[in-house]
């Protein structure tokens, strides 16, 4: 392979990206060396097993990926703003919509939610860390390395261009030659390991590590939604793992699982992809539902309406989510019986979701509503998500779907559920738990600007796309003719897209502004909260979270304690030595070997893949014989950290 095949060449946009990547890397290296931060980076972040720090790293990575995916989106919108535009050629456009979709789902939405789950869930259940802290670090680093492997594709080797669904035979060697599609397969495979481990880790954490007295039906709603999400992850992700492995075999080792030749079955890929893909939709929406439940309850000053109905509808969704996958390919033409059954299951899954919408509305009913920024995002979610839900029911009718399929109507539908659902939740949750992570709130005035610019921009961007879809504009086309008449609405849509981009920049500015000027929190209870994460004495909990594990007597325990004026004060004699897990650099090193292995496989350099895999197994082997039972934090240290006077 020659160097000009190895690096992507010939496009000024890519050269610009090369330069900015280089400058950023040099800048980071310079900063770390000049301010002597290497040891700090290694001790505090790269080797940490603390769930709060891992959560913050997840969120930081997700915000970076939101930027990358957002730039992709704006490039597409620029190309589509006017008919017959020459800004991007068709191959480049295909690569960009592929990376936009993949990054936004796998490397933005999931890590953002998993990051918030990491920070919040152990605190909500009164635990000092997750069940398997070491495994948690492995999860983060495999996700991060998978994301990086996927992201370098646009400067080294070329990006995948077969869509985020990567349907066969389009994704086969014949129609997608070169390393691009391999990046998709390996990047997702490595990141998928991390997700599966997270699923197991948090399932065990929630089942086994709750504070005494916290029965299952006393858990906060966000914890419940995380629990159900983890169950779906554990059962859905292995399908993706297997499907990706089979396609990797097809592309690298000449097998014929999904190929047109050799008795392969191309639609089997689509089938397996959506068997995972539909549960995946619920993996990214259920935690969002949980966050909105917490926020709406807190800022309505009321206990959540229909707590048990919420839980049962989530459990129902978890089961149903495995029964609707065919609605993604009704037009395959499987016949009336199959399409009818999946039409009905799809409409049925809307019922538990509807139940939840009413629960939120009734929680607000007669509540003392405070219009804080997280609450604004939650109300905005209800309004906009319902639009996405209603158009979803339209798409669920198989016969009608033959008209909507592969048009902008569908594109608009899933952006209305994924942005108004997941992205609004990520913003709401980030703002809500920001003081828990960093010790100060984001500025509320700037935050409200972000909300209004983003929400208006979002509707300006996607509402016209429903009508473009009904006018017959297909998705995934890189340009269209003047005569089609799609020009004006596309221009409006592009303007909306850029408004969302501006809102993102204002959000980032708000982070900087609040870092400089925000008033630091003096208590752990920034929003007058209801759940245990707000009960820590300091704004940011110490690394062991709770000096004394709380005893829970019911739902919204902390709130009821405050109402009764009986918040326990910590005394020195409550303190006992605390058992904590030790940091470890092995997860980071293991993930780095995964990168070597993945990169080797992408370019079909088997020597490199084998070296990487030997490294992975080496670290696994090393860990198996490592007897580290953690350490104890002494009573004196806890007393000093908690500032208890003797």
């Amino acid at each position: 392979m020659k160097w000009d095949e190895f690096f992507v060449t010939g496009d000024p946009l890519i050269y610009g990206a090369d330069v900015s990547i280089l400058l950023t890397m040099v800048g980071i290296l310079f900063y770390l060396t000049k301010y002597n931060k290497w040891k700090w980076l290694w001790d505090e972040w790269l080797t940490t097993v603390d769930h709060k720090k891992l959560g913050i790293m997840y969120i930081v990575s997700a915000v970076l990926m939101l930027f990358r995916g957002g730039v992709d989106a704006l490039l597409m919108r620029t190309q589509l703003a006017v008919p017959d535009a020459k800004f991007l050629d068709s191959q480049h456009y295909n690569e960009i919509f592929t990376t936009h979709g993949t990054i936004m789902i796998i490397f933005m939405a999931m890590p953002f939610l998993i990051g918030l789950i990491n920070v919040v869930v152990p605190l909500q259940i009164g635990a000092r860390d997750v069940a398997y802290p070491y495994l948690n670090a492995v999860s983060f680093w495999t996700f991060f390395i998978g994301a990086m492997l996927f992201n370098i594709s646009f400067v080294i080797g070329g990006s995948p261009a077969a869509g985020w669904t990567s349907y066969m035979p389009l994704a086969s060697n014949e129609l997608s030659p070169g390393p691009g599609q391999n990046y998709y397969l390996l990047g997702l495979q490595i990141a998928g390991i991390g997700t599966l481990l997270t699923g197991i880790n948090f399932l065990v954490t929630i089942l086994k590590m709750r504070a005494p007295g916290m029965t299952l039906f006393r858990m906060p709603m966000f914890t419940w939604s995380s629990l159900v999400t983890m169950v779906i992850i554990i059962f859905a992700f292995p399908i993706l793992t297997v499907a990706l492995a089979l396609m990797t075999f097809d592309r690298l080792f000449g097998s014929h699982f999904f190929t047109l030749q050799g008795e392969g079955m191309d639609m089997l890929w689509a089938n397996l992809f959506w068997l995972w893909g539909h549960p995946e939709v619920y993996i990214v929406i259920l935690p969002a539902f949980g966050m909105f439940s917490e926020i709406i309850s807190t800022f309505s000053r009321k206990t959540l309406f229909g707590y048990k109905a919420m839980i049962w509808s989530m459990l129902l969704i978890a089961g149903y989510s495995f029964l609707v996958w065919v609605h993604h390919f009704f037009t395959m033409g499987s016949g009336a019986a199959v399409n009818s059954v999946f039409s009905i299951t799809t409409m049925a899954i809307g019922i538990p979701t509807g139940v939840k919408i009413f629960n939120w509305l009734f929680t607000m009913y007669r509540g003392k509503i405070q219009f804080t920024t997280p609450m604004l995002w939650s109300i905005g979610f209800i309004v906009n998500f319902v639009i996405g839900g209603v158009t979803g029911v339209m798409l669920a009718m198989a016969a009608a779907d033959y008209q909507y399929h592969n048009t902008y109507f569908l594109v608009s539908h899933f952006h209305y559920v994924l942005i108004a659902g997941t992205v609004f939740a990520c913003f709401a949750g980030l703002i809500y738990w920001y003081p828990k992570m960093f010790g100060y709130k984001l500025n509320e005035r700037i935050g409200k600007w972000v909300f209004w610019i983003f929400t208006i921009g979002f509707n300006v961007c996607f509402m016209p796309q429903y009508f473009l879809g009904l006018d017959g504009m297909p998705r995934r086309v890189y340009t269209y003719s003047e005569e089609s008449g799609w020009g004006p609405l596309n221009m409006v849509s592009t303007i909306g897209g850029f408004m969302m981009g501006i809102a993102f920049l204002v959000l980032v500015y708000n982070m900087y502004y609040s870092f400089r000027y925000a008033k630091r929190e003096t208590t752990g209870d920034a929003w007058d909260g209801r759940t245990l994460e707000w009960s820590t004495p300091s704004a940011m909990p110490p690394f062991y979270n709770f000096a004394k594990i709380p005893e829970v007597t019911g739902l919204d325990h902390f709130w009821r304690q405050k109402q009764a004026g009986k918040v326990e004060k910590l005394t020195a004699k409550d303190i006992k030595p605390i058992h904590m897990p030790s940091n470890s650099g092995v997860p980071f090193i293991m993930a780095s070997f995964f990168f070597v292995a993945g990169f080797g496989m992408v370019f079909d350099w088997m020597w490199m893949a084998i070296i990487g895999l030997i490294g992975v197994f080496g670290t696994l082997f090393y860990r198996s014989f490592e007897y580290d039972d953690g350490y104890y934090v002494s009573v004196e240290e806890v007393i000093e950290t908690e500032k208890i006077s003797k």
Binding site: L207, F235, E263, L268, G319, F322, D629
Partner: protein, 131 residues
């Protein structure tokens, strides 16, 4: 947190035997598929048999399926729920996929089938366009 929950009873024979048997079963399935002259149907039946055997083996040897909880009945209820849901998902994946990919017009995705009455129907080529 990192408390040693399971006591170690010497060498983990159970895990080693399970591991070796899993590998043997996999190699045997590979041998049956690649190096025997059996018909496709028989190969499928045999390797499916091995697959089910291996799943059972792993449940027994690694997955604590026989483990009984004495402290609370929550654990055993979670176990049962877990197994039932796993069975549900497995059945949906296998039977669902077979049904979806063989029912109605989807049949023509089987490229190995000789051109019989299922193919060449007047509306068949029309359906092809929607792929």
């Amino acid at each position: 947190m990192a408390k040693t929950t399971a006591e170690h009873h010497g060498f983990p024979w159970k895990h080693l035997i399970g591991f070796v048997l899993s590998i043997v079963l996999t190699l045997f399935a590979l041998w049956v598929a690649l190096y025997t002259d059996l018909s496709v149907t028989w190969i499928l039946i045999i390797i499916f048999g091995f697959a089910i055997l291996q799943a059972a083996l792993q449940l027994l040897m690694f997955m604590h399926v026989t483990e009984n909880s004495t402290s609370s009945n929550l654990t055993s209820r979670v176990q049962i729920g877990n197994i039932l849901f796993a069975a549900f998902v497995a059945i949906v994946i296998v039977i669902g996929s077979v049904w979806v990919l063989t029912a109605g017009h989807a049949k023509h995705d089987k490229h190995d089938e000789p051109k019989t009455e299922n193919h060449g129907g007047s509306h068949d080529s029309e359906e092809h366009g929607s792929h």
